[in-house]
Subunit: 366 residues, 2 copies
């Protein structure tokens, strides 16, 4: 029923080994034989048996790209970019030559599913794995991840991080591209401070994510530098950080959370003049909440996001945010995974985050 390499060999009047050689192309074969073999392949409509091939070669052409939430363009853009570098251009025949199969795996942000996917990819003897986006900072999970990644690396799988800080004991990986979330958060806060804002609300992401923590740390760093973490005169240091806590609400990275967290924030601290959101999607929800409370952006309250997703420039007013070069980073991660590009010195590269000042932020009233 199903045609095998041996069938092709028979028809081309060569040995199976020769067919294998022309198919894999990494071995000298006479042009005329190659020609004959390829014709036989086409005649018979032969398709390589991947599992058999992987078994014999002890490696597969699968490359996994793990994302936290594929419905979020933040991940979609990075993953799509990575695939462009991995999938190969195709030869237009749909015949599929030495292409890798770049596949996206959606963990939904769940640590268990992240590990499960890694195990599944390990099973398949994946050629490489790209992990994108923030990591969960749970010690047990981090340990499990380190162990799993070490095992993958042992088995020859290339590991690349994209938009994720390297693990503490993570020397198994080829390279880590990390975004300067802290610096971006800092510059965004500095921008608001320089406009004259003194009470700034922060709608943060889930507490255990590195992305959340780094952005928030940058934010607070800037406030501290501006002397804004000081509580009202006479209060002690604890009060001061309590105050910052009161100005921060955590939630998932989605629009709805941005909406609800903003309402909560406005209830807790009606005197805030600006709201910084964990990312652009959350910022959109924040904008909606602000408007539903009858306030105008930016006249009554400024709002800012993070990431600079494509829709952010089209918000009204256009969203002030921090641009992350998601496509470029994803593409680079893809190239690193393929070994097409040399890892950065030390294996770690920090990718700059650029402040984009637009209409949604302005000086506070009065």
């Amino acid at each position: 029923m199903t045609v095998t390499l041996a069938d092709v060999a028979a028809r081309a009047r060569v040995s199976p080994a020769t067919v294998s050689r022309v198919l894999n192309g990494n071995y000298p074969v006479a042009a005329s034989t190659r020609e004959r073999v390829l014709r036989a392949v086409d005649d018979l409509d032969y398709v390589l048996n991947g599992p058999a091939s992987s078994l014999a070669a002890a490696t597969s052409d699968l490359v996994g790209i793990l994302v936290n939430d594929i419905a979020d363009p933040f991940f979609g853009i990075m993953a799509g970019a990575a695939q462009t570098q991995i999938g190969g251009p195709g030869d237009g025949s749909g015949r599929a030559g030495g292409e890798k199969l770049a596949v996206i795996c959606n963990t939904g942000g769940s640590p268990e599913r992240e590990l499960t996917y890694l195990t599944l990819l390990q099973r398949q003897r994946a050629a490489a794995v790209v992990l994108t986006g923030g990591a969960v900072e749970n010690p047990a999970h981090q340990a499990a991840m380190s162990a799993k990644l070490a095992k993958l690396a042992d088995a020859g799988t290339r590991i690349v991080f994209c938009g994720r800080p390297p693990l503490p004991e993570g020397d198994a990986l080829v390279a880590a591209l990390t975004f300067d979330n802290r610096g971006g958060g800092r510059r965004l806060a500095e921008h608001l401070v320089s406009l004259g804002h003194r009470r700034i609300g922060y709608v943060a992401g889930p507490p255990e994510r590195t992305t959340t923590r780094h952005r928030l740390e940058g934010h607070r760093e800037a406030l501290r530098a501006a002397g804004l973490d000081a509580a009202p005169a006479g209060a002690d240091r604890d009060r001061s950080s309590d105050d910052q806590e009161r100005l921060t609400v955590h939630g998932p990275y989605d629009r709805r959370s941005g909406y609800e967290a903003t309402l909560e924030l406005l209830r807790r601290a009606p005197d805030v003049t600006a709201i910084v959101a964990a990312n652009d999607t959350v910022a959109l929800g924040a904008c909606a909440a602000v408007r539903d409370q009858g306030m105008r952006i930016p006249q009554d309250i400024s709002v800012a996001g993070f990431d600079d997703l494509p829709f952010s420039v089209d918000a009204v007013p256009a969203l002030t945010t921090v641009r992350l070069p998601l496509f470029e980073a994803g593409a680079r991660a893809g190239r690193l995974a393929m070994g097409k590009e040399n890892p950065p010195p030390g294996g770690i590269a920090t990718i700059a985050a650029e402040l984009m000042i637009r209409g949604s932020t302005a000086a506070p009233r009065g």
Copy 2:
């Protein structure tokens, strides 16, 4: 170096066959032996060799989900939803039991890459393939797709369409879930007509896509029903359809295209009072162009989209659009691919599209 089934068998003091049986769980094994085997698996940190397993069983646990553009939430939402039904919940240990590996493949809308991915999945002896979104209506490509899908189906791969019309000769597939794009387009146009619009511009998607065609057909159907395809008095029928052509600009499904096509439309027909976009992303670009021309939405010109992506409700004014239940459709496609749900009668189900009237459309001026 790498631990195999035989190693586990040795440690558990059973035969390899028995280990295989407990791992696959589809065969009676004594509880005590099972216990022993599982412990050995954990002790040795054994991970099944996927290729070997697939080779022997002649089927793999790979499920492919093809999308046109993963950076677009339209696809991200469907693909993510499908994965939730396929990936299995995981057992929390990251050990990975009988889970399928649901993977997303990004074709970038290219017919060649679509075929290449199918070939790659065919190589892997994928258990199922889900094809999402509009298809390219090129006869050669359609024929190639039919042939390829037939071969996949022959090899036991389940084929499911999601948001894509069945192929002409496509009886290889398990099921097709198709969106009522035509009906949605019709109702949207009817809505505008009922508001009093007579000159409606249309920013369409790429010409060869089924989605583009169906939405546009619905749109024109409604106009025709309202007698609006008639050219100005005295003109003949040809002039009439020429006029509709003049009110239509094609382009890719992205924001930038929406922006540029709208400028072009406004140049061609400055008297349009409403613009319908191929989808919400395009609509966002259209809105930006309209504003940059100094016009207000909806006072000076109405704008509408399609899909009702999450950000659409947050546009200002909120976008009138047609809602497609992307998550539900994706999830259902996932279940069909897994054989967890029975196919609809005839294998084809049409999914309703709901008109969402919001602030971006209103009666024309005067």
